[in-house]
């Protein structure tokens, strides 16, 4: 169900920039189902971790204020060509997904 895509590009300020597109509804808990009128429960990504060669360099905390299908970009200035970048996320229902890519 879940799908996470990752892209690594060279950053202008040096190093690399990781862009992650996670497919996720990011429900705020405030929206109502149009058919039943019931509130749709909160469902959002809480933490997203970025690791280079297994070492965590950054952790993003997301909330309900982040758009649906979040696109998150993080700088990894010390990454080199050949390094493995891993991103993994967990949401408030315990669902998770991850993606891995090698820096070109």
């Amino acid at each position: 169900m879940a799908s996470t895509k990752m892209k690594i590009k060279k950053s202008k300020s040096g190093g690399y920039e990781v862009m992650v597109l996670a497919k996720h509804p990011m429900e705020t808990g405030l929206r109502k189902d149009k058919k039943t009128g019931e509130k749709i429960p909160e469902h959002f990504i809480e933490n997203m971790e970025f690791a280079v060669n297994g070492e965590v360099v950054a952790q993003a905390n997301l909330g309900t204020g982040v758009s649906k299908n979040p696109l998150i970009g993080v700088g990894i200035p010390n990454a080199k060509s050949g390094d493995t970048v891993t991103v993994s996320w967990v949401d408030n229902k315990g669902e998770s997904d991850s993606a891995e890519k090698v820096v070109k």
Binding site: E49, E55, A60, L62, G65, V66, L71, V74, G75
Partner: protein, 155 residues
């Protein structure tokens, strides 16, 4: 159905706790802090800053820059990019001041991480967006007003 989800969630959380306790998550446990619930649930900006950064003393800085549209057509998707030339970055946070819960998202950075964070946020109405960067134990900020034509909360 709800019960099932709840069970699944609590089960996942408990296995994670066991794994962490057994030291199975060693490379990740360094930064794997819990989700900052208090900060996300704060209704004022100062409270959120206190909860996340542990301080609310802020200094305006031109070393923090924001790349965001001046006018957002759709409040449900407002791209924001925070960049900083400061060194020793520890954390970055984004607050949309007039949202019901201003504290929108944040990034914890450990050694080897960089001063760049981009995301897309929801905005209920036209509001200034404050971006905070904690570097070297001090908190810096920059802000930009973003006009929102169609709100993106609820609906």
């Amino acid at each position: 159905m709800k019960r099932r989800i709840f069970l699944k969630g609590s089960l996942a959380a408990s296995t994670l706790a066991v794994a962490a306790g057994a030291g199975m998550l060693t490379p990740k446990s360094v930064l794997a802090a819990a989700w900052p619930k208090a900060a996300f649930e704060s209704e004022t900006e100062a409270e959120a800053l206190q909860a996340f950064f542990g301080t609310s003393d802020v200094e305006q800085s031109d070393q923090v820059s924001i790349k965001a549209p001046l006018q957002a057509e759709n409040g449900a998707v407002v791209p924001i990019k925070v960049m900083t030339s400061l060194t020793g970055v520890e954390g970055i946070a984004i607050c949309a001041i007039k949202n019901p819960r201003p504290y929108t998202t944040s990034l914890r950075v450990s050694a080897g991480g960089g001063g760049l964070y981009s995301t897309r946020i929801k905005m209920g109405q036209t509001s200034p967006v404050h971006c905070y960067v904690k570097a070297g134990g001090k908190l810096y900020m920059a802000s930009q007003e973003i006009k929102v034509t169609v709100g993106g909360c609820g609906g």
